[in-house]
Amino acid sequence: MAERIKEHPILGIPEKGTLVKFTFDGKEMEGFEGEPIAAALKAAGVMVHRYTKKEHKPRGIFCAIGRCTDCVMIVNGVPNVRTCITPLKEGIVVQTQYGVSAEPFKQ
């Protein structure tokens, strides 16, 4: 879906740091060190960050500045991590959050 901006008419070529690897639900992915986890996921086309507790509905990025808490995921085993403001690091393990757990809901 989405992708990265290669060159911007006003901002020029985005300055990004080192490319690092991380996993999302077991799949290996790449992103730039220090950018929000949500940005790396978005660039990789990941839209769904979690499924809600009551209705099991998908959620993703909404405010992107750490306020709405819709984009929370399980990061290195810890649930409810706001991925839009948590910097990406080499080797982190990112998982879709189901309710407050990493276990998908039973049908």
Binding site: T52, E55, N80
Partner: protein, 116 residues
């Protein structure tokens, strides 16, 4: 000060709406219909609605839904949203890990850098 203090005032019956199943509080997954019903159960202030339904008590602490809930409650009561006082804001402004909240840095050692 509340616009309406007499909790026996007639606000009419609860009439189901076509959009009652729209989610209003995204964190706690509370619908418009639940909020409207709560008003008819006597919850006439933002604080009461919050305590009764948990709207605005989720992770975001009402950052997203406060104004939406207010508009729904006001409409149900037949008053202007400005007449409803928002629920009290509480520490912490953002969720904070117990381990971090427990760790009062200054009590350990002054780094001599900050303050006078």
């Amino acid at each position: 000060m509340n616009a309406v203090n007499d909790r026996s005032r007639d606000i009419g019956p609860f009439i189901p709406g076509t959009d009652d199943d729209i989610l209003i509080c995204r964190c706690e997954e509370i619908t418009k219909g639940e909020i409207r019903k709560a008003v008819h159960d006597g919850m006439w202030t933002m604080t009461e609605i919050r305590r009764y339904l948990r709207t605005g008590m989720g992770l975001c602490q009402g950052q997203t839904c406060a104004k939406l809930v207010k508009a729904i409650v006001a409409k149900e009561l037949g008053i202007s949203p400005a007449e409803l006082e928002p629920a009290t804001s509480r520490v912490p402004m953002r969720p904070i890990e117990m381990r971090i909240f427990a760790n009062e840095l200054a009590d350990k050692k002054e780094d001599g850098q900050d303050g006078k």
